[in-house]
């Protein structure tokens, strides 16, 4: 009983510590705020978007930013702000879901390898090594070409690439923890395996996992935009920031705002998420070198 109350106390102070450190980091807080605003706006888009998603005004055509259309309109007279808001829903959804796929596979794989150890561990990490060496960018392009460009496949394909690093992090963490004295002490006190996992392993592994998750989301969103830009990701009538940038490039000489606004939105989002991830790393994982 005493051991458990002590561990929760330690654990809450770890989080409190991290929060205090994070609060001092202005850039990370800015990133956090941007993330929250984006999520809220994306959730509420159907209600707060100034125009309907499919609403077009062919007579109007492409216009620069104005009072009626804050970010201008595209060649079909569609409101850019509305298009960017709806595109953001897709971009964020890809970011979150593909990261979740990577998270689940990576954590399970790494935790099993780290826990079981021995030959199973060697085999599992060998597989990770082999997959690491594969040129995945090319494989995703291939997957999208072969099986058609559907959004579910996109989640799976991106998730399947991103889990490798997560598996390595979790395994490393579990291996290191298993050798720690306080785990041995917990065993000797007769705690069950599950209790040890729940009370000691999970809380201690959580920090690096959260940090890496925050950093995976922007890289996944970038990958989606990259594929959509090549015409291999999100397909119309759906839209995403990558696709909007793709359209923007086609007409950038005449209507540069069609490229600039989605581009700035994507960059700002990636900027914010990366700063948040860096800030969380400094706060939660003091030993990790900041590269």
């Amino acid at each position: 009983m005493k051991a458990s109350s002590q561990s929760t106390e330690q654990h809450s102070s770890l989080w409190l510590d991290a929060w205090l450190k994070l609060r001092k980091n202005r850039l990370a807080l800015f990133g956090f705020a941007v993330l929250i605003i984006l999520c809220v706006v994306s959730l509420l888009t159907p209600w707060i978007a100034p125009y309907g998603y499919e609403q077009q005004d062919l007579m109007l055509g492409a216009t620069p930013p104005s009072l009626e259309h804050w970010l201008g309109t595209d060649i079909f007279g569609r409101d850019m702000l509305t298009r960017i808001m709806y595109g953001g829903r897709v971009s964020l959804m890809v970011g979150f879901i593909a990261t979740a796929v990577a998270l689940v596979i990576g954590i399970l794989w790494g935790a099993i390898a780290g826990f079981v150890g021995g030959r199973v561990d060697a085999l599992m990490m060998r597989i990770v090594d082999i997959l690491y060496a594969l040129p995945f960018m090319i494989f995703i392009v291939l997957l999208m070409v072969v099986f058609g460009r559907n959004i579910l496949l996109l989640f799976v394909a991106i998730g399947a690439v991103e889990w490798l690093t997560m598996a390595r992090i979790v395994r490393g963490q579990v291996m290191a923890l298993r050798k720690q004295e306080f785990i041995e002490a917990a065993y000797s006190m007769g705690l069950s395996q599950w209790a040890i996992i729940r009370r000691h392993i999970i809380p201690n592994t959580l920090g690096p996992v959260i940090v890496y998750t925050t950093l995976t989301i922007p890289s996944v969103m970038l990958l989606e935009a990259f594929l959509s830009f090549l015409g291999l990701g999100i397909q119309p009538p759906q839209s995403s920031w990558g696709l909007l940038i793709n359209y923007g490039v086609e007409t950038m000489e005449e209507y540069p705002w069609l490229l600039i606004f989605p581009g700035v939105t994507l960059s700002l989002t990636l900027f914010a998420l990366n700063f948040l991830g860096d800030g969380l790393r400094d706060a939660l994982d003091p030993r990790a070198a900041k590269d």
């Binding site: 060496a133 594969l134 494989f139 072969v146 099986f147």
Partner: protein
């Protein structure tokens, strides 16, 4: 050292086999054959074509014969460019992509290491914040956005540089190289800053300072060797990334390199082309990872000892 290199080379064989098998299976499970897009080929012509390309044989037989061809370095004929082999197309496109990647890497190394070292010399001052914020910006500005924006500014508005082509007009290689290199310059800046900070806090640097060596001598003679190890280790993955990035940059600037061929053959369902190029890319990436690992090992005596013990 040599044993480590041989070991790593041997490990590359199963990786390549996995690549070949996975690509082969994926491409052959694709719905719609390479000729299904052409308008109404008579059935007998289709059969003749399939026989010519051995598509009428069972899958495992195709696989075995393909594997045999690949081992002897023959990627077969292209489905879409009649009369041309995949080897010819790779031979035509690769020098262009390699040149682009080389220039991009030069841009990345010069700007990246420069910014990283400058930042590490005065950490947590403006001299650190400004280059590092610029690096963050570079990371968050994907090439498919940076490229068009550079074209818009330097090509269309200022009319300083040509906006497409490769080797046709003087200066048309500048924008593609900068577009492709910038993101890596940003990563390299962060890596070299981290590496330099770590090295500069070591005892031997303090000794060098105590000896009265000038700061520039300390950096160039003592710190760079250790500080750049993370950068060297990053070169392998960076090269893989450059190849992927060449898809986008070659499309934007209409450069006749491998990346553009790859995207085009992906859209055309040019089976043999996709297969051949994937295997070619994979081999290159594996080789470059090996080279950058060996180089990092060469620079770091501690790692060398570990490699001797573990592998």
């Amino acid at each position: 050292m040599i044993r480590f290199a041989i070991n790593r080379l041997l490990q590359a064989i199963p990786v390549l086999l996995v690549v070949i098998s996975m690509t082969f299976l994926l491409v052959h499970s694709a719905p719609g054959g390479p000729f299904s897009a052409d308008k109404a080929v008579p059935p007998e012509v289709a059969r003749a074509l399939e026989a010519q390309y051995q598509l009428d044989q069972p899958l495992w037989q195709q696989y075995i014969s393909y594997l045999g061809d690949v081992i002897t370095g023959d990627f077969g004929p292209s489905f879409k460019y009649p009369g041309r082999t995949v080897n010819e197309l790779i031979a035509a496109g690769f020098p262009v992509t390699a040149e682009l990647a080389l220039y991009a890497m030069l841009v990345a190394l010069v700007i990246g290491i420069g910014a990283g070292v400058v930042a590490a010399m005065r950490p947590n001052t403006m001299q650190d914040y400004i280059p590092m914020s610029a690096a963050m910006l570079g990371i968050c500005m994907p090439s498919f956005l940076l490229g068009p924006i550079l074209v818009l500014i330097f090509g269309i508005h200022l009319e300083w540089l040509p906006i497409s082509g490769w080797g046709d007009i003087p200066g048309d290689k500048i924008l593609p190289a900068i577009t492709l290199g910038t993101g890596y310059a940003a990563y390299i800046a962060r890596l070299s800053r981290g590496g330099m900070l770590e090295v500069l806090s070591q005892d031997y640097i303090r000794t060098a300072r105590a000896k009265g060596l000038s700061e520039s001598l300390i950096i160039t003679k003592h710190a760079l060797r250790g500080g750049l190890i993370p950068v060297v280790a990053f070169l392998g993955p960076a090269f893989a990334g450059l190849l992927g990035g060449s898809f986008v940059v070659e499309t934007i600037f209409q450069i006749p390199g491998l990346g553009r061929f790859y995207v085009a053959s992906a859209f055309n369902r040019d089976y043999t082309m996709i297969l051949g190029m994937t295997i070619f890319f994979a081999t290159l990436i594996i080789l470059f990872n090996l080279l950058s690992d060996l180089l990092a090992l060469q620079l770091n005596p501690k790692l060398r000892q570990q490699a001797r013990g573990d592998h």
